[in-house]
């Protein structure tokens, strides 16, 4: 059994298409420029429409938890749940940090996005040490 994967829907299709090309997108407000995650129907700061912007996908670990009681079937026995603070505006993204000993993860660790193919439709934006 694999872990739960997102469903490509009308709102998030461009995000997952870009992910397959190895590009990280983020909703950016048409009006105030605020970036948010996960995608909402309107900008949560000023309620305007938003468009997809390309993110360089680099940042630092804002916080993390080394999880040894997995969320459900299909998850690894040990994984690092993390909030990454992206350098392009300081938006926070929920992800997993991989390619590092979980005990070495620290707040402030520089990281960059690394896409991993999970299914035909979904490549997930993990983060690895930069």
């Amino acid at each position: 059994m694999t872990k739960p994967l997102p469903t490509v829907d009308a709102m998030t299709a461009p995000y997952w298409e870009a992910a397959q090309r190895g590009e990280l997108l983020v909703p950016e407000c048409d009006s105030c420029g605020h970036k948010h995650f996960p995608a909402e129907a309107v900008c949560p700061k000023c309620l305007s429409n938003w468009h997809w912007a390309t993110s360089p996908g680099v940042g630092t670990v804002y916080s993390f938890s080394v999880v040894r009681r997995p969320a459900g079937p299909g998850f690894p026995d040990v994984y690092v749940l993390a909030l990454v603070e992206l350098s392009d505006g300081g938006w926070l993204m929920t992800t997993n940090i991989v390619d590092i000993d979980p005990d070495d993860v620290r707040v402030g660790l520089p990281v960059k996005v690394d896409f991993r193919k999970e299914s035909e439709a979904i490549s997930l934006p993990y983060f690895i040490p930069a």
Partner: protein, 396 residues
């Protein structure tokens, strides 16, 4: 117009256990309602408002409108479900409705059990592995693959708090050991007689989601609770010493579980509510004699001291060190064992906080009675969930 004119007149906590498979959720809930009404000296004929989780089958699960058919007369207040039926939030909603004249007697509560006829499963679903089955989080389930759940989301806040303020594992472990030792001595607690625990026991227990170990996080159990509220005027003719709502507030900063929980989003969560609550009561945080606060994790109790205003931001850890929250300490916390040891049962653990506060104020808490207990602070939810509700209680 004042919440102080409304009283909690009946309370009941049902049996709590890891699994309650000899009762249906309906039987458990009815037991809680009837016992709370008995405690008050009222009957179902007196009730005209229900904020009670509807267990089904039929109707919308949680929605208390379905109860209207079972009281023999129309209800004047119902509640759509979930946390509106529990704890401080339900108390404040009911008290507001009574005070403004919408209704006269409100029952609050509900319960979880896994006996036969459980529609949709009776176990609490906010924990792994059932967490994965509760539906997509974020548009298209954008957050689902990352393995966040309740404990690990609270952990994200705690880890950042440690980084910014130097909060230590030992401080969290003192919270866990103290509250668990209270439960160890309470025959009604699911974890009765399972201790005692030392700080070191907590630090050595199995890692779950760093910084939390097994003994830092609450257990999952089943059970129920109920409260009865009416006007203070009517309460004076009833069986028990009336406990009034001195003040209260609710505070929400985002939908629960709609993103990884970040300290920067919830840093001030509860502060404005606490100011409102104590202002309404004309009291100071320092006047509190017992705290029945939400403890899904050890860390969350440290944060409560900060947002209540008992210490500065980031100072919760040092503040509680050295016995502050023990039953004989300056600010006793969860004398009956809290979520960590008494029970976390879905949503009605929020109501258990109010039940314990009322028992303490009435002087009915037996061997765990806090002496000279005049003011009790109760709260529900917290940082990981991005909301908090609180009620300050005292005798009329």
């Amino acid at each position: 117009m004042s919440l102080r004119d409304v009283a909690i007149v009946g309370v009941h906590a049902t049996r709590q256990a890891r699994v309650i498979d000899d009762l249906t959720p309906m039987q458990l809930t009815l037991g809680a309602i009837n016992a709370a009404l008995d405690d008050a000296g009222l009957t179902r004929d007196d009730v005209d408002g229900a904020a009670v989780g509807w267990p089904g089958p039929g109707g919308l699960i949680g929605d208390s409108t379905s109860w209207a058919r079972f009281f023999g007369h129309p209800l004047h207040l119902v509640s759509e479900g979930g946390l509106d039926n529990s704890g401080a939030r339900a108390v404040l909603r009911a008290a507001s409705a009574i005070e403004t004249g919408l209704c006269d007697v409100v029952v609050v509560g509900g319960g979880s059990a896994s006996g036969p006829f459980v529609p949709g499963g009776g176990s609490p679903n906010f924990t792994p592995p059932a967490q994965a089955a509760r539906g997509p989080i974020g548009a298209g389930g954008q957050l689902d693959p990352w393995g966040g759940y309740v404990a690990s989301n609270f952990a994200l806040v705690a880890q950042r708090h440690m980084h910014e303020y130097g909060t230590t594992r030992e401080q969290m472990a003192e919270v866990a050991a103290t509250i668990r030792n209270n439960g160890h001595e309470n025959p009604e607690a699911v974890m009765y007689d399972r201790g005692p625990y030392t700080i070191d026991d907590v630090l050595q227990s199995r890692p779950v989601a760093s910084p939390f170990n097994l003994l830092d996080v609450c257990l999952v159990a089943q059970g129920g609770a109920a409260l009865v509220l009416t006007s203070l005027e009517r309460a004076r003719d009833l069986k028990q010493t009336p406990v009034v709502v001195l003040g209260g507030a609710m505070e929400f900063v985002r939908g629960a579980w709609t993103g990884g929980s970040a300290l920067r989003e919830c840093r001030d969560l509860g502060k404005a509510g606490a100011k409102r609550t104590f202002g309404m009561a004309g009291l100071k945080p320092d006047d509190v004699d017992v705290m029945c606060v939400y403890d899904p994790t050890s860390f969350e109790v440290l944060r409560a001291f900060e947002w209540m205003g008992l210490c500065g931001e980031g100072e919760g850890g040092p503040f509680i060190e050295g016995g502050t929250i023990a039953r004989d300490g300056r600010f006793p916390v969860n004398p009956e064992g809290g979520c960590l040891s008494h029970a976390w049962n879905g949503v009605q653990q929020m109501t258990l906080k109010v039940v314990e506060a009322v028992k303490q104020l009435r002087g009915q808490a037996g061997t765990r009675q806090i002496p000279d207990c005049d003011v009790a602070f109760t709260s529900m939810a917290g940082s990981g969930a991005m909301h908090v509700e609180m009620a300050l209680l005292g005798r009329a």
